[in-house]
Amino acid sequence: MTLLSVRDLAIEYASRRGAVQAVRGVSFDVAPGEIVAIIGESGSGKTSLAVGLIRLTPRNARTTRGEVLFDDGIAPRDVLEMDRETLRRFRWRHAAMVFQSALSSFNPVIDIWSQFLDTGRAHGMSDPRAVRERASELLRVVHLDPDRVLRAYPHMLSGGMKQRVLIALALLLGPRLLILDEPTTALDILTQRQIIDLLRELRDRLGFAMVFISHDLSLAAELADRVLTMYAGRIVEEASVSDLFYRPRHPYTVGLMRAVPRLSGEPGALASIPGSPPDLVRPPSGCAYHPRCPFAIDRCRAVDPALVAVDTPAHTAACIRWDAVAAEVGARIA
């Protein structure tokens, strides 16, 4: 069964220089209870994609084509076709989002209890006692003391506590899908560890699916079942977490992995990816990665490659040179 099915989604932003093609025809599926990581650098379109899934894109953005089908078990519905009221109810009840900056996601002048109460009310939980009960239960699940936290104002909580409150708040209506934007980036190492363990534990307990976006490969290695690599508005590789890390087939995925310093094992040789991400007002011809790609041949400048199955049907890469990549990186990279 598929919980979320994204088909050929394209999102553009209006800018003075022309349309910025942030998401250029993205398709992927998420199964119930699955954790999918979307990795890529800034400017890869991963944030636009994440907010596009529940239409939280800013005003100057336009979804130009595609479908975002969400199947709550009754019938698949296209999020892009929902009217405002349906969409409002859909968010939080079916799919909730946890933003990167825990600090700015709260209204600073109201206490945590009111944040829960307002959210509950807006989504049809009219009985404050029911909200209180559910909020307390969720706060305990995220290892916080409800009596203390519900009375607190956002500034009274540490970064890690705020992030946990946000996760609890996102889970208030029992969504089947949680979308997280860089869920641990702003947090300290030990706090980050708690949040990672917490997310995994919550998924196991409550069974919701997660789509999280991160520039941090290690977070994907730690938490994801499946990983999508995004570059210049496209998914360029999709694989199970072990296939992606041990048998990467897209040169960009390989480049990212070789750029990350390791803490365990041999330090290994590191190398940055030359150049910088392309201008999405005028993406390069052919494969958008070709100007930075050590594997590029003439044909890469002309052909914009589609995702094709590589080693297994579930592992796809958008690279006409994937077999050359495979030959060079061998079976194991990470």
């Binding site: 980050q192 730690e222 480049g255």
Partner: protein, 330 residues
């Protein structure tokens, strides 16, 4: 060459006085590379600012070539100011948005009398830009910060630090804000300055893997709540952390290898919350969270930073006892 000698720095806040840095002693030789790591609030940025002479110690001394910096005036102070340069985390904030690359780099050259006239300045700036890998330099000269990528801005910030021929560069989270794909190049650029110019480099980072890479021929210092808790050659610190806090950090860091990261051994902590600097626990500040905690010792006595075998130092009663006992002949 540059040394913090039992430096403490306090700040007044609305909640009371906090000690951001407490009794920190760190000495650096010429051309040495060191990384200071720790979580937010550990005092690593304050330590960097103390090293760069931007903050005056509340007590203790900053020594440069043996002289007490805050006791000197005039020419010696000027020599120190030029000798130690700070590169900030966010070059977007530290570069003036209305100044071109030429303006940014020529100002210190003129101010310190290194260049006279436009032509002389351009010659020096071209060389600086080439040194930091911004080529062709003439394309960069008329650019404003917003016309540069994050990596380019950070290179300009490094070039600006180099205008005064510093002997020490303190780089505070200098690569945290640039994309992972280009971080290594920036780290290598800084290391290259060490190799070519003999500059001492102190990199402040929250990222242990970055610290391991950068300080592979140097040391890592770990800070917690204002104190240095461990100081050791990078590989030794990572492979065999002596302080329980260091061990906890290393066990907690996720790694870009699914099998490795999912099999990592965590150090179980007794508490999760970091104490407030306004209400530091007595004794060792880590004791409420520490798995090695011994009542009557750790909650009473502040552990001194003491040497243990293999060129390492650690501030932990238990670790010092265990490690020196193991090393001593029976």
């Amino acid at each position: 060459m540059i040394e913090l000698d039992r430096v403490t720095r306090t700040f007044s806040t609305p909640g009371g006085t906090i000690t951001a840095v407490s009794e920190v002693s760190l000495a650096f030789g010429a051309g040495e590379v060191m990384c200071l790591v720790g979580e937010s609030g550990c005092g690593k940025t304050t330590t960097g600012r103390l090293l760069a002479g931007l903050l005056r110690p509340s007590s203790g001394r900053l020594l440069f070539d043996g002289g007490d910096v805050w006791a000197t005036r005039g020419a010696d102070l000027g020599r120190f100011r030029r000798g130690v340069q700070l590169v900030h985390q966010d070059p977007y904030a530290s570069l003036n948005p209305v100044r071109t690359v030429y303006d940014t780099l020529s100002a210190p050259l003129f101010r310190h009398g290194k260049a006279r006239g436009h032509d002389g300045a351009v010659r020096l700036i071209r060389a600086l830009l080439e040194r930091v890998g911004l080529t062709p330099p003439d394309d960069l000269l008329p650019k404003y910060p917003h016309q540069l990528s994050g990596g380019q801005r950070q290179r300009v910030a490094i070039a600006r630090a180099l205008t005064v021929d510093p002997r020490v560069i303190v780089a505070d989270e200098a690569v945290s804000m640039v994309d992972v794909s280009i971080r290594v190049t920036l780290l290598d650029l800084l290391l290259g300055l060490r190799d070519e110019l003999g500059v001492t480099i102190v990199l402040i980072t929250h990222d242990l893997a970055v610290a391991r890479y950068f300080a592979r021929h140097g040391r890592i210092g770990v800070m917690y709540l204002g104190r240095v808790v461990e100081l050791a050659p990078a590989e030794r610190l990572v492979a065999d952390p002596a302080h329980p806090y260091t061990a906890a950090l290393i066990g907690a860091v996720p790694e870009a290898d699914p099998a490795v990261t999912r099999a990592k051994r965590r150090v179980p902590l007794r508490g999760t919350e970091i104490p407030s600097l306004l209400a530091l626990p007595p004794g060792c500040a880590f004791h409420p969270r520490c798995p090695l905690f011994e009542a009557g010792l750790c909650d009473v006595l502040v552990p001194a930073v003491l040497p243990i075998p293999s060129e390492r130092e650690v501030a932990c009663h238990v670790a010092v006892r265990e490690r020196t006992r193991v090393a001593a002949p029976a």
